[in-house]
């Protein structure tokens, strides 16, 4: 088991013939992901190292039976690409594109919600998702993810930041702790998939025994997660929130990472999570070490 994706997931890459799409699409395939096709309008009939390219997502789905899409197109084209995938019947969309205008994101999110309620969008501006040994969609280096063990305990990871996701994977690998699934939800203001969505899945997943959550300043996603954890999550958790020292009113690299009007501070988020019974590390290493302790107790 894993959440959202597994060894049966069939993936197409929108933008496979572009620099990013080709690089990461081929890496994903090399990891063992079932990459069945690519989409670039006007390049249908070509192939990228044996992966067939189609003119549209609809053509690709028809020919390959794909159910997931990896979107690696520029910001201008991303919103349309997401909706095209949803319309063609793709049910799991990973969009790594950084720099999509917030207005477009809000519109896409609400269009999916209304017209394609069964579609899950991960991102935009996210590193993607990896279920180690089964499926890797996105830009995560597969080799830093420890395979889950059959008897567990295994850890689920959910994070708003790319490099901190890798950091978390790495910390667990150092300790030899297996990972069920690692989800990067992305640092934008309107993510398609939230912490709560992932926590709900991890709670249900029999292969996940504990959860690490990595948040950052801005918005209220961590506070909403804390409420959800209090009511619904029984699996032990550790967390880290980046940006304790970030100055107010500045976007810290990610479009969504901003403290405004005294809201969205790291301290507020840590307090909320702590109150929900989550163990808080003051840096990523500490969160990893806390998880190692938790896992020891589960064995």
């Amino acid at each position: 088991m894993a959440i959202f994706v597994n060894e049966n997931t069939k993936v197409i890459v929108q933008g496979l013939t572009g620099g990013q799409g080709k690089f990461h699409g081929l890496r994903n395939r090399a990891y063992g992901t079932n990459v069945v096709g690519g989409v670039t309008p006007g390049k249908g009939g070509q192939d990228v190292e044996g992966i067939p390219v189609f003119d549209s997502v609809a053509d690709a789905v028809k020919a390959t039976g794909a159910d997931a899409s990896f979107i690696a197109v520029p910001p201008k084209a991303a919103a349309a690409a997401i909706l095209e995938a949803a319309k063609a019947g793709i049910t799991f969309i990973v969009c790594i594109t950084e720099g999509i205008p917030a207005q477009d994101e809000a519109k896409v999110f609400n269009t999916l919600l209304r017209d394609y309620p069964k579609v899950r969008l991960l991102g935009p501006n996210c590193p993607g998702i990896i279920s180690p040994g089964k499926c890797n969609i996105g830009i995560t280096a597969g080799e830093i993810a420890e395979l889950p063990s059959a008897k567990g305990p295994n850890v689920g990871i959910v994070s708003r930041s790319g490099t901190l996701t890798y950091q978390a994977l790495y910390e667990l690998k150092q300790q030899g702790i297996g990972v069920s699934t690692c989800v990067g939800i992305g640092g934008d203001p309107v993510p398609g998939t939230s912490f709560v969505d992932c926590l709900a899945e991890f709670q249900k997943d029999p292969e996940t025994h504990a959860i690490i959550m990595i948040g950052e300043i801005g918005g209220s996603a961590e506070e909403e997660a804390a409420e959800f954890i209090k009511a619904n999550v029984t699996k032990p958790m550790s967390a880290y929130i980046a940006g304790v020292t970030a100055p107010a009113g500045k976007k810290m690299g990610h479009a969504g990472a901003i403290v405004s009007g005294g809201k969205g501070t790291a301290q507020g988020k840590m307090d909320a999570l702590r109150e929900a019974g989550v163990q808080i590390g003051l840096n990523p290493t500490e969160a990893g070490a806390l998880m190692a302790e938790i896992v020891k107790g589960l064995k």
Partner: protein, 383 residues
Amino acid sequence: MDLFEYQGKQYFAKFGIPVSAGGVAVTVDEAVKVADASQYPVVVKAQVQVGGRGKAGGIKLANNADEVRLHAGNILGMDIKGHVVKRIWVEHASDIDEEYYASFSLDRAAKMHLLMLSAQGGVEIEEVAEKDPDAIVKLYINPVDGLSEKVARQAAVDAKIPAKALEGVAKILVQLYDCFTAGDCDLAEINPLILKPTGEVHALDAKVSLDGNAEYRHPEWAEYSATEELDDREQLAREKGLQYIGLSGTVGIIANGAGLAMSTLDVVNQVGGTAANFLDIGGGANADQMAAALEVINFDKDVKSIFINIFGGITRGEEVAKGIVEAMKRVDLRAPIVIRLDGTNAEEGREILASAGIPESKLMSKPTMLEAARAAVALANGK
């Protein structure tokens, strides 16, 4: 990107929102010229991106050219909470019957647009929210549906906007929503939105924050970025295309990834140091990017040590290490570097750094983030 009031008003005007006749001035003579053209009395307003301008003496009424000369002379160059006034906005002084508040923003929790409207304007909306929360109408708008004049009018009724102002307010709400969406704002706020004795509704102030991600479809924003208040370090970083935010500490920071960079600031703080900046070098971290980053850090005279925090994912440790060695040849650094290189092929990377012949007084490698932070802070504190 936050706009100055005058830019916000000019932006509003593009969407048909009524604003006072006026103009921007950078000298006293220019101010008089604008005032003469705007009809007296006029208001002379300091253009700074900080609240409390009025209390600080940055907003003055002038009845004639001499008064404009006096006030403009005082306000230009004035320091308001650390912001030096470089420009003033001069506009015809409006007669005010009533003051309202209106804003559109993105509610991240609801993932919808949020209209906030109140018949109590002219004061900080946070103040109203605290004293009399019922005085603020909050309306969530699905971005797929948009805002119709009918819905806007109902919101105005709910906010107890008097009947004589309803039409005017509803019309401006629709225009402001258009500005917010088509104009790609993070925030579009009018406070106060005034009712004049003549019955017209009118934006007396403008607070506009633009979404940087939408810059590609707004070539007209170029003039706004030109006036953005960056310090010299931030200016240099922008020229080099780096994600940089200047801070006031002594440890220069370079990290790959926004989250890791934020985290690096936190860890430096935890071990008793202060960060001089936030700098996300991105995923690649090759020699060119590293050299550019080091140049910007080196430009900051307060920097006493440099903490490079790199986690290799797809970018391998040895590539990062080669990049650093090459960059150090190009930039003559004043401060020593402490590097933490971890992740994919980190050991190979550390070996390259160790065998590059750079003395430890200039480049020190530490295996973990915490140890590296301690070393960098010790160097910065002269220990």
